[in-house]
């Protein structure tokens, strides 16, 4: 590979730009400029910067638009892959996950360790098994590769729909994340935040396709890693007086463990959990007979409202009574849904360990099996995500493709080492400063987090003793990292910095996903079936139009505020694993695999995985009068659906290829 100085200059420009921006805004903060202005400036400058790179790299050349000319060297392709993969959920979510679920968890659900191992180990699978071979194939999309490997339009068509399904779920979650970060930074409404960020995404991917996205992602990877490292060093320095956050976290662990033991044994904590358990039982009774329960509850609330009005109670108290779902919701279904959400939230909170594991865990419990299954799904899913696989095509050669995976893993490991250490340090602040505080004398940071437009903390005094117990606290884990500077009391400039990193993570992933979806529509569905001989320029133009349509549709879905981003992102990994891993593995390493086997592998893998995820949703279980335990197989959580989809796909791929009637 020849040395291309402008590429390194681009990386340097990203780093220098971020540093200059940070120091300028730090100075502005010292001068008393309002925080919303500072954060808004971070947002606008980031988006303009990425859009400028996108415009600079605009192209209508098909090879450039679809695969960045197939000449990106390993370090840059690795940086782009890392940014492509590092979504808002994985960049921000890992810290919150480890904080909430602990390392080994509660003994029933998967622990936070599973995410760290699955999301890093998957790159080894990708690098070892697929990267070089896909690069050699010189295809443009994964469905195209599969279609040509099996000489089948049906395989390509199925693979295209599989890629669209997995990527769409992931894309909506990313755009939702972009909207939240953008609205938090700018003070705009969530919907405006979504559309502002969407403008940035479109300017990158619409004008220059993969070429523009690649170089934008290179800069975004610098922003992601630099922002996380800067935050980690600052937190470590502030808490332990040195810059090595891993050591700072290890130093805090002993204190956390002894504090957790004290909290677990506290009678007030026990009474809080008993009050929560009573409320759960109460909600289950209501859910079992919702019509009767609603009537009784409405009568009680009606009396309370009348009394409050007669006593000239403050309007806020009356509004609080009127906000009760039994009073507010006219339909029984929505009321039951609200009760189910509250019950699930309470159960989740009660299961949450005080420290990093529940007390008295013994042996290989259900949590171990869930963790093992989740690690499998995340690893195999990482190796089979279409928008990550397509990065193998942009590398300059097979060796570069493999090396780029190692580069990507290096950057991701740096971020995760910091994220897991941050989880430990935040836990120490929560256990020492928040638990045990009087409700009217909360730490300043807790008050601020409660009152924000995007509230990152809520406290419900279940045992009514006026003191915060651990079980009273609900932290909004998906975005908690954004609050680290306030919790640790370091300069607010770090909030803008980490939000810029989160924005870069969400934008880069959204760019990659958008390209994958629009290319699947244009290249694999439209041109393959309707106009196979279309000229390259027409293909590029249609891809661009479809990209815009997909982006707008995804933004519309995101503005409907899907809940539980991490759940759906994890499901996307399981879906990708079940749909693509068996067919790619057998297709690349078993010459006997034929088109019938490929179709059987994809349909069965995706079908089983999709079935398992859907049947474990409350909106499916409720009309069918099913309980969660009725639909779980071996007690495994729905996010682990890939653990069923992948083996079934492999088995049916093998059997389908062996069928005598269809053998090639």
């Amino acid at each position: 590979m020849s040395f291309k100085p402008w590429r390194w200059r681009l990386v340097l420009a990203g780093l220098v730009g971020l540093t200059v921006l940070t120091f300028a805004l730090w100075f502005a903060d010292l001068m008393g400029v309002s925080k919303s202005w500072i954060n808004g400036f971070f947002l606008v400058v980031s988006i303009i910067g990425y859009a400028a790179i996108g415009m600079f790299c605009r192209t209508t050349n098909a090879e450039e638009y679809y695969v960045a000319g197939r000449r990106v060297s390993a370090p840059f392709n690795g940086m782009a892959t890392a940014a492509d993969w590092m979504s808002a959920a994985s960049f921000l979510g890992v810290t919150g996950l480890l904080l909430s679920d602990g390392f080994v968890g509660d003994g029933r659900h998967a622990g936070g360790l599973a995410y760290v191992l699955g999301w890093t180990g998957g790159f080894c699978l990708l690098g070892f098994l697929f990267a070089a071979k896909l690069n050699v194939s010189r295809a443009v999309t994964i469905p195209q590769f599969l279609g040509e490997r099996f000489q089948s339009a049906t395989v390509r068509w199925l693979a295209a729909w599989g890629a669209i399904l997995c990527s769409s779920i992931y894309l909506v979650a990313q755009i939702y994340g972009v909207g939240l970060v953008a609205s938090m930074l700018s003070g705009l409404t969530f919907e405006l935040g979504v559309f502002l960020a969407l403008g940035g995404i479109l300017l990158c991917s619409f004008l220059g396709g993969m070429r523009a996205v690649t170089w934008t992602q290179v800069v975004q990877s610098v922003v992601i890693v630099a922002s996380m490292l800067a935050l980690a060093i600052a937190v470590s320095w502030h808490t332990q007086g040195h810059p090595v956050i891993g050591i700072a976290a290890a130093q805090s662990l002993q204190q956390i463990e002894s504090r957790a033991k004290v909290i677990e044994a506290d009678p007030a904590e026990q009474s809080t959990r008993e009050a929560m358990a009573t409320r759960v039982r109460d909600l289950e009774t209501k859910i079992a007979d919702p019509v009767h329960a609603r009537e009784i509850e409405r009568q009680i609330i009606g009396r309370q409202i009348s009394r409050a009005k007669a006593d000239n109670a403050p309007l806020r108290d009356i509004q609080r009574l009127e906000s009760n779902p039994a009073w507010r919701e006219p339909g029984v279904e929505r009321l039951v849904q609200a009760w189910q959400v509250e019950r699930d939230m309470l159960v989740q909170t009660m299961d949450r360990p005080v420290g990093f594991q529940a007390p008295d865990l013994q042996g290989l419990n259900q949590g171990w099996f869930n963790s093992l299954a989740l690690v499998f799904c995340l690893m195999v899913g990482t190796a089979a995500l279409p928008h990550i696989l397509v990065r193998s095509y942009t590398a300059a050669g097979p060796v570069e493709a493999q090396k780029s995976i190692a580069w990507a893993l290096f950057l991701i490991v740096v971020v995760y080492l910091c994220a897991s250490s941050l989880a430990v340090l935040i836990k120490s602040f929560v256990l020492t400063e928040l638990v045990g505080a009087h409700l009217d004398q909360l730490p300043e940071w807790a008050d601020r987090l409660k009152l924000r437009k995007l509230a990152l903390l809520s406290i419900n005094d279940y045992n009514q003793d006026g003191i915060v117990q651990f079980a009273d606290i609900r932290l909004f884990n998906d975005y908690l990292v954004l609050a680290v500077p306030e919790i640790v009391r370091i300069s607010p400039i770090f909030t803008g910095l980490i939000a810029a990193g989160a924005l870069a993570a969400a934008l880069s992933t959204a760019d990659g996903l958008l390209l994958t979806i629009s290319n699947a529509f244009a290249q694999d569905l439209y041109f393959q079936t309707v106009s196979p001989d279309a000229p390259a320029l027409r293909r590029v133009m249609l891809s661009k139009i479809l990209l815009m349509v997909v982006a707008l549709l995804a933004a519309w879905f995101a503005t409907n505020r899907p809940v539980n981003i991490l759940f759906w992102v994890t499901c996307a990994f399981s879906l990708a694993a079940s749909t693509f891993f068996p067919v790619l593995l057998l297709g690349l390493y078993w010459p006997g695999m034929n088109r019938v086997g490929a179709i059987a592998a994809m349909v069965s893998g995706l079908g089983i995985c999709f079935y398992y995820i859907v049947t474990n949703q409350s909106w499916v279980q409720m009309p069918l009068h099913l309980r969660p335990s009725d639909t779980l197989w071996f007690g495994l959580e729905p996010i682990c659906a890939g653990v069923f989809g992948v083996p079934v796909g492999l088995a049916l791929g093998f059997i389908g290829s062996k069928l005598p009637a269809f053998k090639n």
Partner: protein, 87 residues
């Protein structure tokens, strides 16, 4: 930005068949895959076998194992590129 002469690709179906025609994994990749499975299962088994050892969970599993994965990947790529059967 420097424009380079676009690479003219070979016929794709031929390249696809080249990619799929060589099903062998290099020795290092095989060991890399075995290492990946062994390290992962051992890390999870260790974490659940000593559920109260938080320092081990943090230090070994969240900090050391991802670095081991990185080492495995780097080591696997290094020679698989030399032994590559797809070039």
């Amino acid at each position: 930005m420097t424009q380079e002469t676009p690479h003219i690709p070979s016929p794709q179906s031929e390249s696809v068949s080249v990619a799929a025609r060589s099903p062998q994994l290099s020795r290092r990749v095989k060991w890399g895959l075995i290492g990946l499975v062994v390290v992962t299962v051992a890390a999870l088994w260790g974490a659940w076998h000593w559920p109260d050892n938080t320092l081990m969970h943090f230090g070994l599993v969240t900090q050391v194992v991802p670095v081991v994965y990185l080492f495995l990947m780097w080591w696997g790529v290094d020679t698989s590129s030399a032994e590559s059967d797809v070039i």
